[in-house]
């Protein structure tokens, strides 16, 4: 009955908190981005796919975790600064409570050889997950040979040469950004190559 052109009214702050809280509590095993898309684009229809991808690319470029950056950007777009705050709180509350509880449980049972063996096992498994995340990120952003050089130089500098992360980030970041700097439409067309 309502015109399809009219955008839906923005959700209340309470509703915003609740939707992000549910996503924060159910997004088990990482991959929060997938849960966010299902929740925000498919179920609530608060965003279309195009704006979702746009906000995601901002989240991935800026420092901060994708999950919290997305909560901030979506919350801000729907309900301004307060929206950003309640969305982030909702997203973080379940995991933060669990991990605080985990620290106390660890203090009690962390020396038990069986829990140690379990934690040692999941550390190996989590390493596999981290590598997949890196490979997936790489397959999206690495396009030319130089990009791979930047990756290897950064990784070797930080992991083996013990260069502090901020220096590596600033130095490699500046070089990589300069490498990809905007060029004019006709890139340095020398007079010799000029047709005619």
């Amino acid at each position: 009955m309502s015109e399809p052109e009219t955008p839906p009214p923005p959700p209340s702050l309470g509703r915003l908190f609740w939707v992000f809280f549910v996503m924060g509590a159910t997004s088990l095993g990482g991959g929060v981005v997938g849960y966010l898309r299902t929740g925000l684009v498919v179920r609530q229809k608060w965003l279309d796919d195009l704006s979702f991808v746009e906000l995601l690319s901002i989240s991935q470029t800026l420092p901060g975790l994708n999950a919290t950056n997305m909560s901030i950007l979506v919350g801000d777009r729907l309900r301004g600064g307060w929206g950003a705050l309640v969305a982030t709180l909702g997203m973080c509350l379940p995991g933060a409570t669990l991990m605080t509880a985990a620290a106390f449980a660890y203090g009690v049972g962390g020396d038990d050889p069986w829990s140690k063996a379990f934690l040692h096992g999941i550390a190996a498994g989590a390493l596999g997950l981290i590598v997949v995340v890196g490979v997936q990120l790489g397959s999206k952003v690495l396009k030319e040979f130089a990009d791979y050089v930047f990756v290897i130089a950064t990784a070797v500098a930080v992991a083996f040469l013990k260069v502090p992360v901020p220096y590596a980030l600033l130095a490699a970041g500046a070089i990589a950004i300069w490498w990809h700097r905007p060029r004019d439409r006709t890139p340095k067309a020398g007079p010799k190559e000029d047709p005619k």
Partner: protein, 177 residues
């Protein structure tokens, strides 16, 4: 009280390094919490980090665990606020600005350039984590199998990670590593 200030300083600093995800900050996280402040040992850090991968929500909620180890509930709160506030404010303001920069010529350069550096930082984090997590052929095999499984299928990562923990217990029972 000094501990809480240290927590705030450490985690707000780490916050700004998380370009490309939490793993990018892992080398500094290890250096500060293990070597500088001795809040946790390297194995403990690995345990919290890995448990954090199983927890729902953003994958760096383990900062709350370190905060709690150092300063109980107030410590957890301080670590969380310090870790999320600086980047949060940055995201809020740059996010508002970014849409106005849609035609800015440097925008794609920044996105692509920082992207490859971010992958490099994640790789460095994985290498440092691997040095602690892989202690023998079997834990190395677990990591490789989980990697292949997650790379090739769409399985929820929580399942293979929990199974890895069970395999760890089985290895303990059989007295191998």
């Amino acid at each position: 009280m000094k501990n809480l200030w240290d927590l705030a300083a450490v985690f707000s600093y780490l916050s700004l390094l998380t370009v490309g995800g939490g793993m990018a900050a892992f080398p500094e996280l290890k250096d500060l919490t293990v070597n500088t402040y001795h809040w946790v040992t390297f194995p403990e850090l690995l345990h919290f980090y890995s448990l954090g991968q199983l927890a729902p929500g953003p994958n760096m909620m383990m900062v709350a665990s370190i905060g709690a180890v150092v300063g109980h509930i107030p410590g957890a709160l301080v670590a969380l606020i310090a870790f999320f506030l600086p980047t949060g404010l940055l995201t809020l303001f740059v996010g508002r600005l970014w849409t106005h920069l849609a035609t800015w010529r440097w925008r794609p350069a920044i996105q692509t350039g920082l992207g490859s550096v971010a992958v490099g930082l994640v790789a460095a984090g994985a290498i440092i984590m691997g040095m602690g997590a892989v202690t023998g052929i079997f834990s190395g095999a677990i990591a490789v199998i989980v990697f292949l499984l997650l790379w090739r299928t769409k399985i929820n990562p929580a399942y293979p990670i929990v199974v890895s923990g069970l395999v760890g217990m089985a290895m303990h029972w059989l007295n191998i590593n």
